[in-house]
Amino acid sequence: MPYAQVSDKVLHRIDEYLQKSSQYTFYERIELLEESEPLFRDDPYAIRYGKTLAYLLRGISTPVSGDDLLLGQVVERIPTQAEWTHAENMYRSWWSHKSDEEIQKDILWFYSDGWLRCRPPWFYSFGHLALDWPLFIKEGLAGFTRLADESRARHPDTERQQFLQGVALCHKATSDYFLRYAQAAQDAGRTQDADSLRHLSQGAPRSFREALQLLWLITLVVQKVSGCGVLNYSRMDQYLLPLYRQDIEQGTLTQEEARALLQDFYLKNNEIMANTDHMSLDTTSTTQTLEVAFDDPNYIILAGLLADGTSGVNELSRLMVQVSHDLKLKNPFVIVRYHEGIDDSFMRAVAHAMRDNATVILYNDDRMIPALRACGIEEPELYDYGFFGCNDPIIPAEEGGLRQLWLNLVRPLELALNQGDCPLAPGGQNRNPNVFPLRDRMTGLMTGDYYGTSTPPLTEMTGMDDVLAAYKTQINYLMQEYRKGIERDMRLEAEVNAGRLRIEDCFLKGTLQNAVTWNNGGTKYHHFVVQGTGIGTVADALHAIDTLVFQEKSLTLPQLNQILLDNWEGQEALRQRVRRLPKYGNDIDAVDKYVAWASDAFVDAVSAQDQGQYLYGFYPTLSSDRDFTTMGKDVGATADGRRQRDPISENQSPAEGADISGITALLNSVSKIRFERITGGPLNLRLHPSAVSGEQGIDVLTALLKTYMQKGGLQVQMNVVDHQTLRAAQKEPEKYRNLCVRVTGYSAFFTQMGPKAQEELIRRTEQAL
């Protein structure tokens, strides 16, 4: 695959990266962490945290490579077998002997064992947030120190004093790290860089180049050293613009120099990621890595509306899309915010980058802004919304890291058809009263058996309205039980988590002013992302019930449900007929009305549990990430012809292979969802290259994207690659190392993905012309 406008040096760097073993490890950090473990045990948590960070930042090397424009690397090497075993044993000593209840007291919410693995209980962060980047640009590190200093006088209580002491240690450690790097630059003869780094140890960046230098070293401190990855850099094209314009006007920077600097910044973001795909749990490079934040993508938000209602598209937005297009790397993940009236030539450049498989995706302000407003987000920060991780919304610097729940939308349907009983594990009267068990709340996944509340027997349901009413009752019940569970967790968190500083607390809004961690209320906003999963399966199943039972009347509802309980056993002819009924994804109103209905029922249930005095609100999204296979495993057969335990539909998409009427039909179907109530979630498109080839293809794609946004679509991400290429890449991975694909909310190099993820991608409907 050709690269546009990229120097041989950069090409060489990309090749080197693609050939790097995933076993490369920032082993210095592991050694220093081990050394530091006994040193500060007697200190209060926040102070121990600060001292640990200082110990790490004092001990790690500060390599200066001759070629890089920006400075800042860590030393990586492949550990010996003995070192590997040693580190793994250390990791195991942190968590493996603990029960879920004990883990909860240490950490509360952790997503998965993989997240815990490399993080010790006294020094962890899970990232997934945006720091106050504009303050870094405006005032530099000193800005944060100032806020902490001001706060100290206001908060005399011991707990907050300790928190602020910890913060001060972290600020100082970071500042000292800049000074150490300045010395290293001086030693390497890079005097100007040394001067910049000395200045940046306190002060605000004076140039575009210094701004990127500051952002990058901060990234190393928070992500590589502290494990706070999946950063949202937020609106770089806005907060860097004044320095960019200043330098261009003063003649100290050309556009080509800026492009080279941005290329270096993007490349560095890519190079700190291990050569693996973090969601492919069937690859050993994922499960065995010793690295913290080893594969955490970072997110850049471009364009979009400004708080005054004007367009944020500027020359830097264009340049940053161009650099993504130049490099076609998996990181950083660039999100362009569309709005009605966005500049046409900019949209064409975005479509061009997307057509050429750059890691650029599109979100719609005209849907996101009302949806976030409904979640209580206020102006002006509403206009600065962005994303981190897999399509999770965030107001930059105003809220902390990821907390989420995948709400399996197929579950309420099977509960509605069984009076609240679980079809795969009928419990009758002895149902498990603990609807959302602890582990499911901690990891945010609904796994195992779920039981609902009592709804009418099927013999009493005389029309679709009765089925839908029962669905609503069940989904409301599930969300209500979830709220009960997390409120118990929140009480525990307030008790045990107070003063548990994390690196991001040092660089957010509100945490310093209030001297409170974000998770205990320091920031303005707090949210769980509630990800509705399997909406396509629900829509198709509801439509099939409507058709068979209430339109054709060929079966009664109890008869149909018995067929589902029997997993379509002996009913293959009927199953085939049902599979050929109209499906969501083909622009057929009779079935699409159910996707809109189910989405509303989901948002209603979520927002019903978001009224009242809760610290944490909810962001409803339609997003499964890659967990639609896992989430299908506990679900019985469904009326759309799906067998029990088969995968449910992914993200916003129709069920696998259901969309057969062309891409405009698919987009028309999806746009019937009332996205002005949905705050995120991906629509994965795979286009055949012939459909959008040449200059005309870019025009066509631009029009396609624009029309979909105007019709009310929320998000688009795409891969323009044909089936044959993906198969060829499986056969000869060495020839396709640079084939970068959008997976859900992140990108991966295809050949680094596990076999399961590769198959999932290949099976996505290929939209040809």
Binding site: E572, A573, Q576, R577, R580, D587, S661, G662, I663, T664, A665, N668, A691, V692, Q696, G697, D699, V700, T702, A703, L704, K706, T707, Q710, K711, Q767, L769
Partner: protein, 335 residues
């Protein structure tokens, strides 16, 4: 020269009906293929509706493929479109002889012989019940009758995409002009909504059939299979004089036109043909743009599915040379 029917389908000669060896069926509408009397009953079989079509005219389009054709191109890439009434497609390689179609067919067209599924076309009435139950998609019956109103409603669902891309609707086939009145009704409705219309036709129809469409058709995509009358006759079963006359008439009428030429290795791709084509097209009042379409063999599999196996041809060897020669006549040529 003798008519050689390479497709195995009897050629429409303007008078006979074409039931293709099937028993006549009450729904067979023999008038559908009568060029002289375009039937007024406003329903037409459409065998495919392709949304997000980007190669049949400008922008994002929906291409409507009408059933029925009055040419018999030996290399046809949509052989299932040739008969006036659709034939059930049976992809034998996908069949697992599960027998579900046997139960679904009221006419006994599907039977099991020694555990193997057999299909008897002569009993098939194309009532599509079998295709609905086939678990393998080995049986397909995609063609459906539409009224212009039904079709317009469906096409307008993508109106926003047409407008933003400068696209619209293309009528293709088969030969859409076999249902000229239907196309006219459809295009009239689309033009009322200011939607761009294109007509993909082989133009082997009397001028009085084409002429009424002029006010409603923004672009004519006219297929020219071969400039040489003998070759045209040999490989399409038809004479090309009417086609060439119509191209001239369209040009004279000032219609926007693109000529589309399938290039088949060793059949119609010679330098001599390129020159003669160039002379003809450049001599028109308004020389049209030309698009060259290299042969591909996608039609073979589909031809087999309707039990009319076709000969495989080869791709043209010198398509760039062909294009170069045409450009020598100051024609705009795309490959």
């Amino acid at each position: 020269m003798m008519t050689i029917d390479k497709t195995g389908l009897p050629l429409y000669d303007g008078e006979n009906n074409d039931n293709f060896g099937r028993k006549p069926h009450p729904h067979d509408d023999v008038a559908t293929h009568n060029e002289m009397e375009v039937q007024p009953a406003m329903e037409a079989y459409v065998f495919n509706i392709q949304r997000f079509s980007t190669r049949d005219g400008p922008g994002i389009r929906t291409t409507v493929f009408f059933q029925g054709c009055n040419l018999r191109c030996a290399w046809c890439h949509n052989p299932e479109s040739i008969p006036a009434k659709p034939l059930l497609q049976f992809f034998e390689d996908k069949c697992i002889s599960c027998g579900q179609c046997v139960a679904a067919c009221a006419n006994g067209a599907h039977i099991m012989v020694d555990g193997q599924h057999r299909f008897d076309e002569s009993l098939c009435t194309y009532n599509v019940a079998c295709a609905a139950v086939c678990p393998q998609d080995a049986l397909r019956a995609d063609a459906r009758p539409y009224t212009p109103e039904q079709l317009t409603d469906l096409l307008l669902r993508d109106e926003g995409y047409y407008r933003n891309s400068g696209g619209g609707v293309t009528a293709s086939g088969g030969e859409p002009l076999l249902q000229a009145a239907f196309v006219q009704a459809l295009f009239t409705a689309l033009k009322q909504k200011d939607i761009h219309t294109a007509l993909d036709t082989a133009a082997r129809m009397p001028w009085h059939t084409i002429k009424p469409l002029l006010p409603y058709t923004d672009l004519f995509l006219v297929d020219l299979k071969a400039i040489d009358p003998d070759v045209h006759m040999a490989y399409t079963g038809t004479d090309n004089r009417l086609i060439l006359e119509n191209i001239r008439a369209l040009s004279q009428a000032g219609a926007a036109m693109e000529i589309r030429m399938p290039l088949i290795g060793g059949v119609n791709d010679s330098a001599d043909f390129a020159r003669r084509t160039g002379e003809f097209l450049s001599g028109l009042p308004v020389p049209p743009a030309v698009r060259l379409l290299p042969y591909h063999n996608y039609g073979l599999y589909k031809a087999q599915s309707i039990r009319r196996p076709m000969e495989e041809f080869s791709a043209p060897l010198h398509i760039d040379e062909f294009a170069r020669l045409l450009r020598g006549y100051h024609l705009i040529v795309e490959v």
